[in-house]
Amino acid sequence: MRQDSFAGYHPAVQLLYFALVLGCAVAMGHPVCLALSFVCALACALRLRAGGRRQLLWLLPGCALAALVNPAFSHRGATILAYFPGGNPLTLESILFGISSSAALVTVLLWFRYLNAVLDSEKILWLFGRAAPGLSLLLSLSLRFVPRFAAQARAIEEAQRCVGEEARGLLRRARHGMRVLSILVTWALENAIDTADSMKARGYGLPGRSAFSIYRFDRRDGLALFFLVFCGGAAIGGAAFGRLKFHYYPTAGGAAPDLAQICLFAAYGALCGLPLILNAKEALQWKRLRN
């Protein structure tokens, strides 16, 4: 991924952002909301490196299929455009609903692509570790063990082959596998004594253990958090008061557009576009520093 300024924010801010954006993409069916979310998600996902961008193309046929399937099976709606050979009506509303639901699906997928790039496994672990520091330490230890076991298993397998333990035939292969596993377990137990010593030597088990976090919650994280709470609150509040209602059947339509609704759209757009705003701001700043 290219340098992304949102990726440098505190994981808690990122988690809240993705929770809001994903929740709204699923729950808010208003076409304007969908369009805003889709455009922002696409723009964010396009920030990924070239390989990621090529993969985005694969989304298009799936999206088209989803849009086509709905009118083929759903015949609700008042505006009849044509009739299928079987006699079922093709309605404008079912086409619109197909498009909007497939757009919602693609939007969610795009958000997940961006989430994967911004909120890596380390941050997710840390976030869940906050809830239980013991669990987070355990995870950290396990993440260290797994690649080590794999490397040791490989070394054992090769060593056994070198002393002529050939693995041919199903039965012998199974026995060979068992032997490797048994050696691995014995060796791991032996190594665990050392690991335990190393932990004890550094005071593990003393009361009052703290959990260090490499992530800092800065002023800018506070500002971003405030921004998210404000915009997210506005959008959710508006939706709760029915200002963002939209229905497709029997005819497509929603709450009458007024100033309040336009403000809500603006808030929602700002919420979804936060990473884009931050990146644009950064780019501008660089430009100014250069000159």
Partner: protein, 530 residues
């Protein structure tokens, strides 16, 4: 000045053992001292070191007393014990416990309950002191062994201990990484005044750093003092421990003279006098059918990956020990794997005449049974009592057959693993770093076994960092660099032709004895007796 650590008539016996592991140890370590604790394997140095760290002290019967900074060590609270006394173990793989470098640095501070701010500052300090910054956010799994060990040291130092204990910390490292590690220790001692007690096999580099050396044997302190005083003391005792001492000390002890004992190569050069005898040149190598032929071998692990071997050509002959030397990443281990048939070269011709078997770097990868006897019996040809008897006699395993392979010492494990490999009756024996972590005595025994094997016509190929061992025992040395062989020859010609990549003995004596490559050579030339 008050001693930071003091042992008064300290005795220790393991539960169920008949003889004490430590006998009447009296020692005083002053603050700021760099003490090197040496002695053959099993002499009790690790036991002694662990007694100084309450959290790691083994159970057993104790008499006498240990004082830490004037107060009995028993009275030290667990919190102070964890904070004020640091302990670094031998194996870098096992003692680094978390998955991220920054988390590892913070581990000890987390245990002590420091807050985020303090931990951030301390980890930053440690990272910049030890030069860890470039890999501060990396996964531990991506680090080299030397980096892991440096990380282990840094994470122990993060709690700012007054006393730092290290149990053979360079045993699993290659010479370059070991040198860097010891340099970091010297810097800690010199710049921060941290008191250090170190047990070490690699005395060539460690002893010159020591302000106090302690030699132990059979649970007793044999002598203490500066390295030069140790040299004099051991010479008077005529003790076998001398085999492990730095070359200048060994030469000095074997040649009658009254001058002070040299410790470093530089002091050795100054001390050295005109030779009395000439060192004979090597006989030309026998020309026979090679057992292993590599012709222009190219190898890489992945299609897109970098080439590891780039046109490597070499020969190994039966009845010879061929040593492949070179730095990390030169392709030594890869060459051995191709030779063993574990990897296929993608270009070039390989030929191996006869059965091949390889001794892996880590003997643990071979042991599968609960006793050594059962383990060997399960190996190919292990069912034949005659072969079993021959092999156990060759590898001196007679008294060890009923033991669990994991309970053997490092050197014994290495011999047991060798026995298991030899049961397959190989014509070509491949060894990967066979002397790693072995002390001087075990190296001599191992060399004797190899000599017997080549006497039977086995072709031994060894990949090693251990220049001194190769100089003393190999028939032919090959220097690998950047995936190809850049120099080859019998050891005397090979090492005396190099200026940097050569033995300590050669560096010490090359201005008067360019052909000398081992301490024995210099002793012989000076008319002493080894």
């Amino acid at each position: 000045m008050e001693a930071i650590a003091e042992l008064r008539e300290f005795c220790f016996t393991y539960p169920g053992a008949t003889a004490p592991a430590l006998r009447e140890i009296c020692l005083k370590i002053a603050p700021g001292e760099f003490a090197v604790l040496c002695g053959p394997s099993g002499c009790g140095k690790t036991t002694l070191l662990r007694q100084l760290k309450p959290a790691l002290a083994p159970h057993g019967t104790v008499s006498g007393e240990i004082f830490f900074a004037g107060a009995p060590l028993r009275a030290l609270s667990p919190r102070d014990g964890a904070q004020k006394i640091g302990f670094v173990l031998q194996n870098p793989e096992n003692q680094v416990v978390t998955d991220k470098v920054w988390h590892e640095l913070a581990f000890g501070l987390e245990s002590l309950g420091y807050d985020n701010r303090a931990i951030r500052l301390r980890t930053a300090e440690m990272a910049s002191f030890f030069g860890i910054e470039p890999w501060f956010r990396r996964d531990v799994g991506t680090l080299s062994g030397g980096q892991k060990q440096l990380l282990a040291l840094a994470s122990v130092m993060a709690t700012q201990p007054d006393l730092l204990l290290l149990d053979e910390p360079t045993g699993q490292l290659d010479p370059i990484a070991a040198g860097e590690f010891l340099a970091a220790l010297a810097r800690l001692n010199r710049e921060l005044g941290v008191t250090i007690i170190l047990t070490e096999h690699r005395l060539e580099e460690a002893l010159p750093l020591a302000s106090q050396a302690i030699v132990m044997d059979e649970g007793r302190v044999l002598c203490t003092g500066t390295p030069a005083e140790i040299g004099r003391g051991l010479r008077e005792l005529r003790h076998g421990m001398f085999a492990a001492m730095p070359v200048p000390m060994r030469v000095w002890a074997a040649v009658p003279n009254t001058e002070p004992c040299p410790v470093t190569v530089r002091e050795g050069r100054e001390w050295l006098r005109a030779p009395l005898r000439r060192i004979a040149a090597e006989e030309p190598a026998p020309v026979g059918e090679p057992a292993v032929v590599f012709d222009d071998i190219w190898f890489q692990y992945e299609k897109e990956g970098p080439a590891i071997l780039k046109g490597l050509s070499l020969r190994a002959y039966p009845g010879e020990i061929t040593a492949i030397l070179g730095g990390n990443g030169a392709g030594k281990t890869t060459a051995l794997m191709v030779m063993a048939g574990l990897r296929k070269a993608y270009r070039g011709k390989t030929k191996a005449a006869g059965r091949r078997a390889a001794l892996p770097q880590n003997p643990h990868t071979l042991f599968a049974a609960n006793t050594l006897r059962a383990d060997l019996a399960a190996a190919p040809n292990g069912e034949s009592p005659q072969k079993m008897r021959d092999i156990t006699a060759l590898c001196h395993l007679e008294g060890l057959l009923e033991r669990h392979p994991y309970d053997l010492s490092g050197g014994e494990q290495q011999r047991a693993a060798l026995a298991k490999v030899l049961l397959t009756e190989p014509d070509i024996l491949l060894l990967d770093e066979p002397t790693k972590g072995l002390d001087a005595k075990f190296k001599l025994e191992f060399a004797a076994i190899l000599k017997k094997l080549i006497g039977k016509g086995v072709a031994v190929v060894m990949v090693s960092h251990d220049i001194e061992f190769c100089a003393g025992n190999a028939s032919r040395c090959i220097l690998l660099f950047d995936g190809a062989a850049v120099a080859e020859g019998p050891p005397r010609a090979f090492f005396s032709g190099n200026s940097f990549y050569t033995t300590a003995a050669n560096r010490m004596a090359r201005h008067v004895l360019p052909q000398a490559i081992t301490a024995e050579d210099i002793i012989f030339a000076l008319g002493g007796e080894a």
